[in-house]
């Protein structure tokens, strides 16, 4: 396999390994989470080096952005330092090292054995690209060729939110949202950045049709705006707020299902008619973006709920 490996790539790979080791091995959970966020950022750079900008966007937004916020919010409710664990017995450690090393060796060998000129599925994808409704092959794969996967992913997201809602304490703050009452710095930030958040979200959804972008990245950005709003003191939406919250949350799955069932008339389930494919894809993406943004915001709100958690647990910061 002929690759062009530069010093940057070697440095990147070494940094990724070091960061992963640090994130997993530190007894201080806060340090581990910070290293995990940095790991996500370097992973996004690695994806760009592998010529996959869509995945890099998703990794930076969801993998290190939203997940970092969720982890930090959860950390505020548990003890910050892990208890000292018993030492691993040397023989068990040796077996673990042997097994992991063997797996790593098999993976490296299989990557090195990849044929040089194998085109894979690229010709098939590009041959039918005009009929999929998207000019970006990644979007075509995500929403058209493998539409089932994305439909089920939206379902998984919804189920995860329902699970978190079941475990969270009932929302004690009744009444209308009285606006942000907390930090003034965050209030100014939110007020000036909210239009830009919404604009870039719409831009990502629209540009996903022909360039790196898409619904998941846009939804994660919207969730970032939601996280800032929750931190600034806005009362987060809850499932009991009314029908509109539940409709938006279910819009991802429902939009997909509606389009898929509607396509039954012209073919099989989820077989979009090529003439309408672009518009149907846009419809699905808009619905999914709203659903993903609201779902991740509510997940963060559940994690960041100060009143939940065991009594007497420490909180980091104010």
């Amino acid at each position: 396999m002929t690759w062009q490996i530069s010093a940057l790539d070697v440095l990147l790979a070494a940094s990724l390994l070091l960061l992963a080791w640090g994130a997993l091995g530190s007894a201080d959970l806060f340090k581990g989470i910070v290293l995990f966020v940095v790991f996500g950022l370097l992973m996004a750079v690695a994806w760009i080096r592998l010529a996959a900008p869509d995945i890099a966007l998703a990794e930076a937004a969801i993998g290190s952005g939203v997940t970092g916020a969720l982890l930090l919010a959860g950390l505020a409710r548990i003890e910050r330092n892990l208890p000292v664990v018993a030492e691993v017995r040397p023989t068990r450690g040796a077996w673990l090292l042997l097994g992991t090393g063997a797996l790593a060796a098999v993976l490296c060998w299989s990557v090195l054995e990849l044929p040089d000129k194998a085109a894979g599925l690229t010709p098939a994808v590009e041959h039918h690209l005009p009929q999929t409704g998207a000019a970006n092959p990644v979007t075509a794969v995500v929403l058209n060729y493998r539409g089932y996967d994305t439909l089920l992913e939206m379902g998984v997201l919804l189920i995860a939110l329902i699970g978190a809602a079941v475990l969270a304490r009932p929302n004690g703050a009744r009444g209308p949202d009285r606006g942000p009452g907390g930090n003034q710095v965050l209030r100014v930030f939110l007020r000036s950045m909210a239009p830009i958040f919404v604009l870039v979200t719409g831009y990502l959804v629209w540009v996903g049709g022909h360039a790196p972008g898409g619904a998941f990245q846009a939804g994660a950005l919207l969730a970032g705006a939601g996280v800032v709003a929750v931190l600034a003191g806005h009362r987060p939406p809850s499932l009991t707020d009314g029908r509109s919250v539940r409709i938006i949350l279910a819009a991802g799955v429902l939009g997909f299902l509606a389009v898929g069932l509607g396509a039954l008339g012209s073919g099989a389930f989820l077989q979009y008619p090529p003439r309408w494919a672009k518009h149907l894809l846009l419809l699905i993406e808009v619905a999914s973006t709203a659903a993903i943004g609201l779902t991740l915001t509510m997940l963060f709100a559940y994690c960041a709920d100060r009143r939940a958690g065991p009594p007497g647990c420490q909180e980091n910061g104010s």
């Binding site: 907390g182 930090n183 003034q184 930030f189 000036s192 910061g317 104010s318």
Partner: protein
């Protein structure tokens, strides 16, 4: 235009210098506030020089304005984050203005 390439290289190296300075400050300064001060040099001047170097070689005005917008957004975001870290480190409640405190 060879001089343009050299100019871009020089600007990028200048940005790199500020990044190194900020990182050394992060590692060596004694407390949180001075480390924040060092980090802000990374975001403002380090990134600013590198964006300037990329701007001069941008293909279109749209790409150039997107790069400049990225720099402005990073400025705003890092300033907010530095404020929040500094406030938390001081242990003070931030003035909220709403309760008049």
């Amino acid at each position: 235009m060879a001089w343009l390439e050299y100019l871009r290289l020089g600007l990028a190296v200048a940005g790199l210098g500020f990044f190194v300075a900020g990182t050394v400050g992060l590692l060596r300064f004694p407390d949180v506030h001075s480390r924040l001060h060092a980090l802000s040099k990374c975001d403002n001047l380090g990134l600013g020089f590198i964006v300037l170097a990329l701007l001069l070689g941008a293909d279109s005005i749209w790409l150039a304005s997107k790069l400049a917008l990225v720099w402005v957004l990073v400025l705003f975001g890092s300033a907010t984050a530095s404020f929040l870290v500094a406030q938390t480190a001081l242990g003070m409640r931030a003035p909220s203005g709403r309760d008049g405190r």
